[in-house]
């Protein structure tokens, strides 16, 4: 029972990442009709914004202390981050909380990147075939990756969660199990909650604001909305920016779980595309549902009991599910009729 619960929790945080990326992909697809292979790169860029924020915050001032000597006879170097000298305790807090703090930087940076990407490149591909869109964004993803690789190197850069969340939560106690039987890292729980929160905000935004209503109407029938005198294109550009933000946030908050490297985006992208297709192209709830579903199924399939019956199942489960879903429900789990059927 507790092994089962543990795997379920494991699936939730991974599923959260899938769901967030798939949500952004679906937003871009549902509004602009763009199949964006560079979306994984946006996830990666978000993670590296967090890395940069951390680097900025930990810029150190080096002071040589001549009174104390190292065993090699040289003066001891005292390193203090600038923020600590300037802000004292608050500075120390900022350094510790650099990952959540980076959200403040991620939002504007990703919005900018998203809007520039849409205005500069993707706009010219609305009327081109999907194959062309896939190819040009694939090229863009390679370019973004290589730029990041040039500046940050090829090795993963570990980030740490705030000290407060460094340990593990005794989740089992909540379910009435004896203490210590089911412990789970705090940060992964936080990540799941964060993913749920972001998803809720995006949905609420689309569901309960006039702005969101217009966007939804545009997804249904952009021509009619255009005839009503609304500049739907500009809104769709903003939606693309929002999709970029969601991907960036997903990446930034994921850094303590998976040390970011320049090609992390591609790995997630392939899976997220499968998630989108399983959920149904163009369906936002489908993307979220499929994200969590596949995340949880993936972690169940890596249980030793399951692997004993079906060896290797953990390696292929997501793709296997995709094949089954596509063959039995061509539109995915919650896909609408008439989307991507030509």
């Amino acid at each position: 029972m507790d092994a089962f619960l543990l795997q379920f929790l494991n699936g939730l945080d991974k599923g959260g990442a899938y769901a967030l990326i798939a949500l952004g992909l679906t937003l871009a697809f549902g509004t602009l009709g763009i199949v964006n292979f560079a979306h994984g790169a946006l996830f990666m860029l978000g993670a590296f914004v967090a890395v940069s924020v951390n680097k900025l915050l930990t810029l150190e001032k080096v002071v040589l202390d001549p009174t104390r000597k190292t065993p090699w006879g040289e003066p001891v170097e005292i390193r203090t981050p600038y923020v600590e000298t300037w802000l004292g305790d608050f500075g120390r807090f900022l350094v510790d909380w650099s990952v959540p703090v980076s959200i403040i930087a991620v939002i504007p940076v990703m919005l900018l990147i998203g809007v520039v990407m849409e205005r500069g490149l993707i706009r010219h591909f609305y009327r081109r075939p999907h194959a062309d869109q896939i190819l040009v964004t694939f090229g863009l993803a390679i370019v973004l990756q290589e730029i990041v690789k040039h500046f940050f190197g090829a090795n993963p850069i570990p980030q740490s969660a705030p000290a407060m969340f460094a340990g593990s939560a005794d989740v089992g106690a909540l379910f009435g199990l004896p203490p210590g039987t089911l412990v789970y890292p705090w940060w992964r729980l936080i990540y799941f909650l964060f993913a749920a929160l972001v998803i809720a905000i995006v949905f609420a935004f689309l569901q309960f604001t006039t702005w969101g209503m217009v966007v939804r109407a545009g997804m249904r029938d952009r021509e009619t909305v255009g005839l009503l005198g609304i500049n739907i294109r500009r809104r769709f550009t903003t939606v693309f920016g929002i999709a970029a933000i969601v991907a960036g946030l997903a990446g930034a908050m994921y850094t303590p779980i998976l040390p970011p490297d320049y090609h992390m985006g591609m790995e997630f992208l392939v899976l997220s595309f499968v998630v989108v297709v399983v959920g149904g192209m163009g369906s936002l709830p489908g993307a979220v549902l499929a994200g969590f579903l596949l995340g949880v199924l993936q972690s169940f399939s890596s249980m030793t009991e399951v692997k004993a019956i079906l060896p290797g199942i953990d390696q292929i489960i997501i793709y296997l599910i995709a094949v089954i879903v596509l063959l039995t429900r061509p539109r995915g789990l919650l896909g609408r009729k008439g989307v991507m059927e030509d």
């Binding site: 199949v35 490149l121 010219h124 081109r128 999907h130 194959a131 062309d132 896939i134 190819l135 040009v136 694939f138 090229g139 863009l140 993803a141 390679i142 370019v143 990756q145 290589e146 730029i147 690789k149 040039h150 591609m266 392939v270 595309f273 499968v274 297709v277 192209m281 060896p311 290797g312 390696q315 292929i316 793709y319 296997l320 995709a322 094949v323 596509l326 063959l327 061509p330 991507m340 059927e341 030509d342």
Partner: protein, 385 residues
């Protein structure tokens, strides 16, 4: 360039064959005249030509073609291990196995079109890749990769590390150390390896040309241009699609087998989706749906990979030595981004530029140039006349 008559087709093929066979001489001035690189030209050219039969003619974009390449490599190495180091049985067996594998995957994937087809093929390729690394280790030797080993002495317990080569033993072929693949005694590395691959490439080009010109090829083009209309005329496109899928899978299998012939080591990374992406890129770069384009694209990418990744800072400094010092450093700094380890950046940019400005690839570029010249020539003639 592309004749419509049979005569022109033969001329094209003859010129192509002459060019391919003379590559060691003609490409020497641009620094490509050595076997390792030319082998890659031929092998990836074949891979791309085969991919183009599916993507170029039917418009079905497969994102999992590298799986067939990988399967071909594994099949060929197994033949080397179990039967003989002669290349011919290995190539034939690899093509057959890749064809069967493609038939199975194609049968399922072709039930969907468009992006769903791409995702299905991607899913199958990723499954093959992941399984090759994990459960199928007894067949693939996992991360180490499958390779030709010493002959077994005594009873065989472990077929991965002990080879039997029944056919060679039966024929009484003597082996010293680990043998390398050969063609009736000619060792298949270096130049002989290139010529073997080149002959296969020419044969592959010939078959592709026949397909392009046949009524079967016409049917595939019809599927690309309007499948609904084809349905209404009472044609079921699925068998044609499956045939195209299997044929292009066999080309990939052949390319994989040739890779194994030249260097008998098969690893799973050949099946990864980045490898599938590479062949798409080659085809697009050269020109989708053209005969010559995919080969040109493959050759150009392999050439660029080789040249760009070999350039280092020293060479750059030497190249820009005529610039003033400060400027020189700046130029070298910027150019350094695109070469050496950063050559993927060049690749990505090239990719984007081609898709944005030249969707028809290099072949379209040539055609535009030709048209430009012809128009200018025409104007001249008018003025003179």
């Amino acid at each position: 360039m592309f004749g419509k008559t049979a005569r022109q087709d033969w001329i094209f093929l003859a010129i192509f064959a002459a060019f391919v066979l003379s590559m060691p001489v003609t490409l020497a001035p641009i620094g490509a005249g050595y076997p390792d690189l030319l082998q890659k030209f031929a092998i990836y050219g074949l891979f791309a030509i085969g991919f183009n039969i599916l993507f170029g003619l039917t418009g079905y974009l497969s994102f999992g073609h590298a799986a067939f390449l990988g399967v071909g490599s594994y099949a060929a190495v197994w033949v080397f291990k179990l039967l003989t180091v002669n290349a011919v049985p290995a190539v034939i067996f690899a093509v057959l196995v890749a064809g069967l594998f493609a038939a199975a995957i194609g049968y399922v994937s072709l039930r969907r079109a468009g992006i769903y087809f791409s995702i299905l093929t991607l899913a199958f390729a990723q499954m093959s890749y992941n399984l090759a690394y994990s459960v199928l280790t007894p067949l693939t030797n996992g991360e180490t990769g499958l390779q030709v080993q010493l002959l077994a002495q005594g009873p065989v317990t472990d077929y991965i590390n002990q080879d039997v080569r029944i056919l060679d033993q039966w024929l009484g072929v003597k082996e010293v150390g680990v043998p390398s693949p050969s063609l009736f005694g000619i060792e298949m590395s270096g130049w002989p390896g290139f010529y073997f691959a080149a002959v296969m490439l020419i044969a592959g080009m010939f078959i592709a040309q026949r397909i392009f010109r046949s009524s079967f090829g016409m049917m595939l083009r019809a599927i690309k241009s309007n499948q609904t209309r084809l349905n209404y005329t009472g044609v079921n496109p699925r068998p044609y699609l499956l045939a195209a899928f299997v044929i292009s899978g066999m080309y990939a299998g052949l390319a994989g087998a040739l890779l194994a012939v030249i260097d008998p080591l098969a690893g799973a990374e050949r099946m990864q989706w980045t490898a599938s992406g590479e062949v798409v890129l080659m085809t697009i770069l050269g020109g989708v749906g053209t005969l010559l384009g995919p080969f040109l694209g493959a050759a150009l990418i392999k050439y660029a990979e080789n040249i760009f990744s070999a350039i280092n800072e020293k060479i750059l400094h030497a190249t820009f030595a005529w610039l003033p010092d400060g400027l020189q450093n700046a130029v070298v700094e910027i150019a350094g981004l695109f070469v050496g380890k950063g050559w993927h950046l060049t690749l990505g940019l090239l990719f984007m530029l081609i898709v944005i400005f030249l969707p028809g690839g290099l072949m379209e570029g040539f055609e535009r140039l030709m048209r430009l010249f012809r128009r200018r020539g025409g104007a001249h003639a008018e003025r003179e006349g």
